[in-house]
């Protein structure tokens, strides 16, 4: 399946995609800066700078009531599904007002009220959970969709294929969304996978497959809208692999010595935020000044959110034992 960009996107949506990507980048850069300045509470930050088009495009194609899980590099996806950046910063800073009251941190953000069943730090382990999400959607006859977001590193985890089989067997409303940033930590995808035809793998299970340019947000949005609607309608599960790139290393302090500098420059020339600015400007949807104004608004939003988060209370000893059990009974 190839998606023709722009055909199903309104002018307002094309602009909103740019804005969302700018928000994700500002958020991630601020997390990186906070980390380097020692303001964050945890030490594990996996930034999605360079991958904004995958999150914004898929996020636009999802509906209220859909559910999803993410991998450890999932800040952008949750922002694209309506997360409050202040509460996300608060979680990253370890504060009580964070999404998980400071207990989850960057890699475990969740909030079922926004459909987020959890960011997972075990590679591929969110996929069975999203299988359960899809099962629930069908069982309850909601007409909604479950989406599992994960990286190329999870493509060789066994549970992915267990789940493809069951999702196809039961025709679940479930989409496997791969953010292929080309590296599982430091191992390039072709050094980890005997075959790079992942769509073929999915199709061999009876899962409808698609590949899309993950640096082109409009292409991602259009492809997702098509595939998500198809799966939501009860036709079965889908698989989409979006080719993208991680502009930082695995973590912020990883200089990626295992990557070729020419390769990095090549991908950065295809920067999804910059290319969408060009698309929006050349279509006459925003002027150059309009884009600058939008950038200033986003910067202010993230400044305010981070400043608010930094002022929130830290959890204390009384919080240590809460939520071990939902029933709150003592051990």
């Amino acid at each position: 399946m190839t998606a023709s960009q722009g055909t199903v996107l309104s002018a307002a949506e094309r602009v909103s995609l740019l804005r969302m990507m700018m928000r994700i980048r500002e958020f991630e850069d601020r997390v990186a800066e906070s980390y380097l300045r020692g303001l964050t509470a945890g030490s594990m930050f996996h930034l999605s700078v360079g991958e904004e088009a995958t999150a914004a495009g898929a996020g636009l194609a999802m509906e209220t009531g859909d559910c999803f899980t993410t991998h450890h590099r999932g800040h952008g996806i949750f922002l694209a599904r309506g997360a409050d950046p202040g509460r996300m910063f608060a979680e990253v800073f370890g504060r009580k007002e964070g999404y998980c009251e400071g207990k989850g941190g960057s890699m475990h953000i969740a909030d079922i009220s926004l459909g987020h069943m959890g960011a997972n730090a075990i590679v591929g382990a969110n996929i069975p959970i999203s299988l359960g999400g899809g099962f629930s959607m069908k069982y309850r006859k909601t007409g909604k969709l479950s989406v599992a977001f994960f990286g190329d590193g999870a493509l060789n985890q066994g549970v992915l294929y267990e789940c493809m089989n069951m999702a196809a067997l039961w025709k679940l409303p479930l989409v496997f969304f791969v953010v292929n940033n080309q590296y599982g930590m430091g191992t390039r995808i072709d050094l980890a996978s005997a075959s790079l035809d992942f769509v073929k793998r999915a199709e061999s299970f009876g899962v409808r497959g698609a590949q899309v340019d993950g640096m082109n947000v409009e292409a991602v949005a259009a492809a997702c809208r098509e595939l998500f609607s198809w799966s939501r309608a009860g036709n079965g599960p889908g698989f989409i692999i979006a080719d993208a790139y991680r502009f930082y290393g695995h973590g912020r302090k990883d200089p990626s010595p295992y990557r070729n500098k020419a390769e990095e420059e090549e991908w950065k020339r295809r920067d999804p935020v910059e290319t969408q600015k060009q698309r929006v400007a050349s279509a006459g949807l925003l002027t150059e000044q309009g884009i600058k104004d939008m950038a200033a608004e986003v910067t202010k939003e993230m400044d305010d959110a981070a400043a608010w988060a930094a002022k929130q209370a830290e959890p204390g000893p009384a919080d240590l034992y809460t939520h071990v059990f939902a029933s709150q009974r003592a051990q």
Binding site: C67, T69, G98, Y99, C100, E101, G102, K103, G104, H108, I109, A110, D111, I112, S113, M117, G118, N120, I122, A125, I127, P128, I129, S130, L131, G132, G133, G134, F135, S136, M137, Y139, R140, S146, G158, V159, E162, C163, N165, M166, L169, T322, H323, V324, F325, A326, S327, R329, A330, Q331
Partner: protein, 326 residues
Amino acid sequence: MQMMYRDALRAALAEEMRRDPRVFVIGEEVGRYGGAYAVTKGLYDEFGAERLVDTPISEASVVGLGVGAAIAGLRPVVELMYVDFVGLAMDQISNQMAKWSYMSGGKVKVPMVLRTQGGTGRSAGAQHSQSLETWLAHVPGLRVVMPSNPADAKGLLKTAIRSDDPVVFIEHKALYAVKGEVPDGELLIPFGQAAVVRPGTGVTIISYSRMVSVAAEAAGALAKDGVDAEVIDLRTLNPLDMDAILTSVKKTRHAIVLNEAHRTAGFCSELASRITEEAFDILAAPVVRIAAKDVPVPATLLEKLSIPTVEEVVTAAKTLSQRRRS
């Protein structure tokens, strides 16, 4: 009425499924086949394929499906055919099922039951006879339930299904055909309440699951020799009823902890530690552990040599009850 353990479990499932449409049963062979140990036999006819879901042999993802379905609003009862298979699903149990309530600061909950069975009694060999409750009881966030009789099987399973917490419910393969009195009508047994199976004053024997019957039989034999043993059935390992344990031990001053798991780092070791920490001053002698030998469970005839026997408990209790602290 008199009922077999497996029938009591089935009654609990059926009652809860009728009461709450969110409850469904999923696992290998649970539907058309009726369960490897016939616990779900007949439920498929009443509830159909939508609520008695047969799965492929994919333990990790089936348990994960349960976690996700629970987070997304359902009440799954996932059957893992043998507790020996937890290794296949341990990431989903330990890192997902157990942790999501805590990691999310309560933003998601996992009201799921993982039903499984363990223990010896069928000469099923080292990969189908283990008692692995300690692996599960070690992980914060899991309720661990191990019923010893039909009434508890029913009442605890119904409580498990209604609980908002993830519950690992470990049945015993040698108990399925055991009969016992099960009260008529609604039966809900709260977690964290041990049962005094036999009151006594001379020595406390603390156990759970099938070893409770070994303890009770030993207590009967001990009575003939003038040793008055109290038998406590923990029923749930998490929550653990330390009050009941300490009340008894303070009375008898002698404690035996008995389980079918291996001796080294088994749940008995945890019980012995807790009793020692909290009741050392009153104990007349060190806590005695009686557990399975530290060998893989042998198949065929050697099996019964590897697990605790009534005679072993009787001998240990007689010796222990003579101990006095000078």
